[in-house]
């Protein structure tokens, strides 16, 4: 039995059995935590904040234990990317976070770290200006989610993921180039 099959079985059981509910939740957590973190880290760029938001997403899933969605993974990534995207837009202190994030491990070449930080900031600036769905699509894909998972997370038809992804990339690139030209 695959993890997904097992979860589907457990999800059905969990609607009535609290013990199973606990099991389902734990297996969902084990399956998705690291990746949810990865998605959030890319969006917010701060380890502590990404972990906090990841726990927040799981927390919300737990709070809905009585009415768990059919596709828990999809629901989870939707909530996580919403939290992350909102935090990205709200994150005035992004630059500070990024500096902090680089502190724990002193890089051999400080110049490189500063460059990485600047690059990250620029990429996030572009994401911030993209429509939410485009930014979320790019991040989810880059975090390794399959088309089906992305479709479930963003509530779009699986067949349209390719089109929307191509469009988001085009828009990303357009904004990236504008970013290099301050007059644009």
């Amino acid at each position: 039995m695959t993890v997904a099959q097992r979860n589907a079985r457990l999800t059905a059981a969990a609607r009535t059995q609290p013990t199973d509910r606990e099991q389902v939740f734990e297996s969902i957590f084990a399956e998705h935590y690291a990746r949810v973190y990865g998605v959030l880290f890319r969006l917010v760029g701060d380890r502590a904040e990404a972990e906090d938001l990841a726990l927040e997403a799981f927390w919300r899933l737990w709070e809905r234990a009585a009415h768990w969605p059919e596709n828990m993974g999809g629901w989870l990534y939707r909530v996580a990317t919403n939290l992350g995207y909102n935090a990205l837009r709200a994150g005035k202190r992004r630059a500070v976070y990024e500096t902090d994030a680089l502190l724990p491990e002193a890089p051999p070449n400080p110049e490189l770290a500063a460059e990485t930080a600047a690059e990250r900031q620029r990429v996030r600036q572009v994401l911030e200006h993209l429509p939410a769905r485009d930014a979320q699509l790019l991040i989810l894909r880059h975090s390794g989610l399959a088309y089906k998972e992305i479709a479930a997370a963003l509530q779009i038809a699986p067949a349209s993921v390719g089109t929307l992804l191509a469009r988001a990339e085009k828009e990303f690139e357009r904004l990236w180039e504008n970013d290099h030209d301050p007059s644009a």
């Binding site: 084990a30 890319r42 726990l55 880059h142 088309y147 390719g162 085009k170």
Partner: protein, 397 residues
């Protein structure tokens, strides 16, 4: 020849087509120069974007906490499920101050030998409550604790220790929205008080409360202390295997105006209200005092002294301060020096504390009032002028 849609080409590039579709697309591409060119354009762009996005990937030093540890953190957060009531505290003790609370929770660990993740802090995490009758603020010098803040291994070990030793007897259930004060009183079992003459009707949310037990693993706690460089503080032997039972009753929060809603639906945009609109927000939370039972042979005052020493006080200072507080009936709020202003006020006919943080970074001033009356703990938070909130608190019905 019909050309392939962009969706197919992009999916082909990601190997996201079925085997049959993939083969079909590949065959078409060998024959169609237009599609081949379109694919080349898509591929080049996708690669360029990927290179940009790769900058965001976590580096080795940014890897997440191991999953079991993260799960333990979530469990302790869940068992301390009192979400709405803490909204004000997360505001009060903002993210910037958060690492400090890791250190503080370490201290409180010693005082009563229980604590939770340093987020969503509420009274019982500050200190073992027996039955709260009064509140006291304890300004602490955090220089000493500062060294511990960076020690995430230690924080993790503490969190693990708790998740290993907690048994939940009454699971918290999700918050519930109720229609009015009468219904809230029915759910929670105490008379709920509200803002008289409020300009808008409140959103009333009840919290289920929770009950759990902790069996103290003295040796493990001592090992953590030793690791923190404080082997001079020896936990009493009576603590070994002691069972501490905590019961947190159901509480209610009333949110007036545009407040961040903890139970916002999954879209959650409304959780992030512009600060300018938050000025209309007043949150009044009330909860009957939690109870904590410890075995009679655990000397709480001795533990409190140890906790104070851990915070950096000398043995003498800790001893004399510990004498002045009745640890079984006082909710002690340790407040880092300079974190925010506070003052003692008379509110609702009793002594209370007003915490005030200056406006900064586009955020209006944040105020919180904390008081205890007739066995109920009240906490009220709002933005802007302190006087406005005091007037509301003095006219609760």
């Amino acid at each position: 020849m019909t050309h392939l849609p962009e969706a197919t080409l992009r999916a082909y590039l990601d190997h996201a087509l079925t085997d049959a579709e993939h083969a079909e697309t590949a065959a078409h591409l060998t024959e169609c120069a237009v599609c081949e060119q379109a694919l080349a354009t898509l591929t080049a762009r996708a690669q360029r974007v990927n290179v940009r996005l790769a900058a965001l990937s976590p580096m080795a030093s940014e890897a997440p906490t191991p999953t079991p540890t993260a799960y333990a953190r979530l469990l302790s957060r869940r068992s301390a499920s009192r979400k709405d009531l803490f909204t004000m505290f997360t505001t009060l003790f903002s993210k910037r101050a958060r690492p400090l609370w890791v250190g503080l929770s370490l201290v409180l660990t010693l005082i009563i030998a229980f604590s939770f993740a340093p987020v969503r802090v509420w009274g019982s995490e500050f200190l073992g409550l027996f039955r709260v009758k009064r509140i006291s603020v304890l300004p602490v010098d955090i220089t000493r604790l500062g060294e511990l803040n960076d020690d995430s291994t230690l924080a993790r070990r503490i969190s693990e220790m708790f998740s290993d030793s907690v048994t939940i007897h009454r699971e918290p259930t999700p918050p519930q929205t109720v229609a009015n004060a009468a219904e809230a009183a029915q759910v929670t079992g105490f008379a709920v008080r509200l803002w008289k003459d409020a300009p808008t009707a409140p959103v009333l949310t009840t919290q289920s409360g929770t009950a759990f037990e902790i069996v103290v693993n003295r040796d493990r706690a001592q090992a953590i202390l030793n690791e923190a460089g404080r082997s001079d503080l020896q936990l009493p032997a009576t603590l070994a295997g002691a069972t501490i039972a905590v019961d947190i009753p159901a509480g209610v929060s009333a949110a007036y105006g545009d407040c961040p809603r903890a139970d916002a639906p999954e879209g959650d945009a409304e959780r992030r209200i512009p600060w300018s609109r938050l000025r209309s927000c007043v949150i009044l939370a009330q909860i009957p005092s939690p109870t904590v039972n410890t075995p009679p042979d655990v000397n709480v005052q001795e533990l409190a002294e140890m906790g104070l020493q851990f915070m950096g006080m000398t043995a003498e200072e800790a001893h004399s301060l510990a004498q002045t507080v009745d640890w079984t009936s006082t909710l002690v709020v340790p407040l880092p020096q300079n974190a925010m202003e506070y003052k003692e006020v008379t509110v609702d006919g009793v002594k209370g504390y007003l915490f005030y943080r200056d406006p900064d970074d586009g955020v209006p001033a944040r105020c919180t009032l904390l008081w205890v009356k007739d066995g109920i703990i009240y906490a009220m938070s709002w933005f802007d002028e302190a006087e406005r909130g005091l007037a509301i608190a003095n006219a609760l019905e």
